[in-house]
Symmetry: C3
Subunit: 290 residues, 3 copies
């Protein structure tokens, strides 16, 4: 039984992402680009600009991790096979007659399959990021977590900077308060794989890759079917925040309750508002959704 | 005859850009900086800031190509002779009594001479960029095209980022739709020199450098005299776009003509507008000029 | 006497910045972050984002100098001891019960002590930046000045970019006209230490470190006590600007006086305004304060 399990996870960890999983990743990325307002018009008027945006969407995580490790950001352009594959996906998505690809992608089963396969590539990217950072800085576990995180979920930073330079995006302070769900799970995965790599976790890499991938794919598909984006991590986050920061909140909560009682005559509304805010900060997700 | 031609192109390709061609390049770059609103005031109030801007204008392409290849962006500061030359040009342009240099530069023959000599340096930059990228990634032809392009025409990206950080420039989406003419010819040159470097073009490097430089100088001077910026590449671009994307446009054009006929009673004006748009997208230059 | 002096400066130059001077530097940096509007709220809602900002404030100069020399910007994360120390300072400052640390920091003697110790670390950073750049480019004195300057005072650029990406800061053109006082003294120090390193200054490094640190600490504490930010360098700057650029101003001033006399009938107010501007540009500080 244990041998069968080992065989399965080992075979799984040796699966090559090329070509099917990579195709799914490029498809999801380019469709995300296509849904931006005006993207189709840009593809018609300036295909080069549209192609560059598509490449940044497809390879953004790798570009960011290269910049963080002072490697040439253009390194991704040397992998001609993947560039050709991504370019073909871009061409087909944007220039297919009657927009067939977009219509096909609008069916939920297709989206679920592509999203699930893309989550598999996320695991591979985190692992390769952690390993690559370790080759630079042995035992530099913070660097390993950062690079794994960047490679797995850093593409959004690269594409945001591109939109900023194009004038399509004005940064608002609130966006950075809310880590997206992919960013959170990627950070979690990066920490776990770093612990495994530095022998602090008693689990083999292939077992961990299999379990983490199953975790990612399951919650991604569950979220897409139920349209709920914050199911899984909220209890975990609340526990962690209460452990690290909660005792202060309890203390302040108690203090402000006393302040509210003292000033309850003239400032009842503001006092209750403060208590509501303190109670709300313990439940960070609810507060972010407001 | 062939020997004379060979001699001439070989001698031309061995010409050093220092000092006369470099002087012309720095002069054109610093005059472009001076024409920015408020540049003279900045030079008076904060010469250091003005000098930094001038250096970014003069060496911007090299800085960008260094960043793309993960080399120190400060590398250009080690060439003390060129820095001294560029700084002298900056000092003379901004602080000459009675603004003599600007007045001299306003004469068209001087501008033509300087612009022509600057175009010569463009060829040298593209070639050095392509060669340099090849030393990093043998056969990485996409990287070679990108680095040659960056070094030949990338300065505008560096100076745009500087203006963005200074608050003098707000990016508008449309700007990135229109590749400037220098950017287009530099991309073309970068592709040609990469093909030559990877032995896909049966031409020696010095012959190609001579012909490409003559092409650049001729159209630059023609454009400056006739004040027309889009003469040469439009037929080439239209052919290329029709080849790669045109069949889709023809298809859509046919479809929309049928749609327009069907709905011609109630929506005659919008139908004719759509047909005009489709006919217009085949002529991209006309559309961009609107 | 000379031997005692040598002993003292040598011992001083061998002092380790860890832990007390580093603690002071991190404390001043994190308190600067805390005074930003909304920083405490960010710490409650998204501790990770707040921690990242704190790290950028504490290590910004080192990050910038790494980027300028094409070293991994994440290199600072490999020094686990300093990261742990800075993180502890951040945690204590933001999450201390009853905000004790901020209250303690509001006393002037504490601020003076911390600021003085931070200025000592500035000297160490400039020296390490100059030495580090020299290991890359022997005799590249402009690079050495630039890297020393970046490491000593470059943190503000990194944190400004962070605020720009967050949408908390819109760059205004005028900011870049005014080099802050720390930036000016750091540039001065960087130039002096580069001259010493390239043997153009007949002084030993430890003597120079001692004297420059005393200079920094003295004027910093003087400025904090007297609340005056522009005391020391104004005469020096005026002399330098008059030497390099003043003859042109004298010339223009004379010219404009003649123009003003000629047109004094109809344009008296504008003429006197121009003369005031020319007289004002010779005194750059007064003009900047307007």
């Amino acid at each position: 039984m244990h041998y069968l399990w080992d065989e399965m996870t080992l075979t799984f960890s040796r699966t090559s992402m090329f070509p099917f999983f990579d195709i799914a990743h490029y498809l999801v990325s380019v469709m995300a680009l296509k849904r931006r307002p005006g993207a189709a018009a840009v593809a018609w008027n300036n295909p080069l600009s549209s192609w560059l945006s598509a490449m940044l969407h497809c390879f953004g995580g790798g570009i960011l991790s290269c910049m963080l490790l002072a490697e040439p950001p253009l390194k991704f352009l040397t992998n001609h096979t993947n560039i050709l594959l991504a370019s073909s996906i871009w061409y087909i998505v944007f220039f297919c007659p009657r927009d067939l690809v977009s219509q096909g992608y609008s069916y939920l089963p297709i989206q679920l399959l592509a999203a699930g396969m893309k989550e598999v590539t996320r695991t591979w990217k985190i692992v390769s990021g952690v390993t690559h950072a370790n080759s630079y800085y042995r035992n530099g576990w913070i660097v390993m977590i950062a690079v794994g995180w960047a490679r797995g979920a850093g593409g959004v930073i690269v594409t945001s900077c591109e939109e900023l330079l194009k004038g399509d995006w004005k940064p608002e302070g609130n966006e950075w308060l809310k880590l997206s769900f992919p960013a959170k799970v990627t950070l979690l995965g990066s920490i776990i794989f770093t612990l495994q790599h530095t022998n602090h976790l008693a689990m083999s890499k292939h077992d961990l890759m299999f379990l983490y991938t199953m975790f990612l794919v399951t919650i991604k598909i569950t979220m897409m079917i139920t349209k709920d984006t914050t199911v899984t991590l909220a209890p975990f986050e609340d526990t962690l925040s209460r452990m690290l920061f909660g005792w202060q909140q309890q203390f302040s909560l108690g203090e402000r309750k006393r302040e509210a009682k003292q000033s309850s005559n003239g400032t009842a509304s503001s006092g209750s508002k403060r208590i509501t805010e303190d109670a709300g900060s313990g439940k960070r997700h609810a507060k972010k959704e407001d």
